[in-house]
Amino acid sequence: MGDWTTDDDRLMAYLDGAMDEVQMAAFEQELETRPELAQRAERFTANDALLRQAFDEPVPTSLTASVQAAIATASATATPGIVASNDNRPGWRRWQWPALGAAAAAAAAFLLVVLPGMTGNDMEPAVVAMLDDLPSGQPGDLGKGQTITPQLTAIAADGRYCREFVRNGGQSAGTGIACRDARHWTLEAFINAPAAQDAPDQIRTAGGKDSSALDAAYTRLGMSDPLGKEEEDMLLSTEWKKIGK
């Protein structure tokens, strides 16, 4: 019976339609003489049917709509190098929304600030230290009730390591991206979201629109997918030496 030496192998091949007619007939004959195996085959067949039924669901209309919107956006911005002005974000960035949402939830008003090329010297030493040392997901205390939490680490097209971070508390709360060359961190983009009472008259914009500022930075920087934990740990422990290839 083929290469299938165990009951399990034959049972799987039987259930999954991998047997030809001869093999199937032989196996069914075997089941006649082995009631325990036959019962198992029967149960597994019923389980499979139940599972198929359990996952047979219509696609939610909201998903169909958002997929079609993504297709429309992609078709409209198919030219390489053109950055969409809407929130046509790279797919994996979707997973960052909860982090951004946490910052956004703390603020009733957004002040949108994009600061391309602000030099590393303008970043507070405490912030620089946190970006240097903290693994993603671990908050660092900046004092005065303020924290900064790196969200992820990725590599820009120019080879620099970059980190997205969320800063909570005070006027400088928000979320941003900073990239590191051999010596300095440079703030590449920042969405400032101070507490509501601090900026009651600022122009209000929808959160989704604001986040496109970070997406634009991601696009401009040509950012890679986020590094895995092992790679990030390696960078933190080697003071951001290039990962050898």
């Binding site: 192998d9 599972l51 669901e57 790279p90 986020p226």
Partner: protein, 174 residues
């Protein structure tokens, strides 16, 4: 003879929309929740669209997109771990924690089936999704996941035993 547009390639966008029900099912199984699956599905489509120039029209779109979904799922699980957050892995079946047995009997058969899938390890869940739900051959599933066919079969056997134990209260053998 009817005029046919043989020169026009089948529209990738249309194919993606047509694939959506199967892709979504794969994503729901992998993410272990409907909401998580919808998010994963959307992210998969967005990534596929941004990399459509990399798709070889001579190959299967579904396999390509399942692979994207699988990679995104792995990345995402890793990132969640890195961040020290925890997703509710049993959200889909509303089972809290590993002690599912005590509440098994209160569930409908379909809920129990979903819970049984949610409890499987990632590698077994992916194979159930591909082979049992999607009807992929062992060869296709093996190619998609870069594992030998023998591994496909042994993982499926383990998965089905675990499901049988959970759904029917057997030891998966008898």
């Amino acid at each position: 003879m009817m005029a046919r547009r043989d020169d026009a390639p089948p529209d990738l966008n249309d194919q993606i929309v047509a694939l959506l029900p199967r892709l979504r099912r794969f994503c729901v199984v992998m993410a272990r929740s409907r909401d998580g699956g919808d998010d994963l599905c959307q992210a998969t489509v967005e990534r596929a669209l941004s990399r459509r120039h990399l798709f070889d029209p001579g190959t299967r779109l579904d396999s390509w997109m399942y692979r994207i979904a699988q990679n995104l799922h792995v990345d995402r699980a890793r990132r969640v771990k890195t961040r020290g957050q925890e997703i509710d892995v049993d959200e889909m079946a509303s089972v809290k924690g590993d002690d599912g047995v005590r509440i098994v009997e209160q569930r409908s058969a379909l809920e129990r089936a979903r819970a049984a899938i949610a409890r499987l390890p990632d590698d077994q869940r992916a194979l159930m999704a591909l082979v049992v739900f999607d009807g992929k051959s062992y060869g296709e599933a093996a190619g998609l996941l870069d594992i030998p066919i023998g591994t496909v079969m042994s993982r499926l056997a383990r998965a089905r035993r675990a499901i049988d134990a959970y759904v029917n209260g057997t030891d998966g053998n008898g």
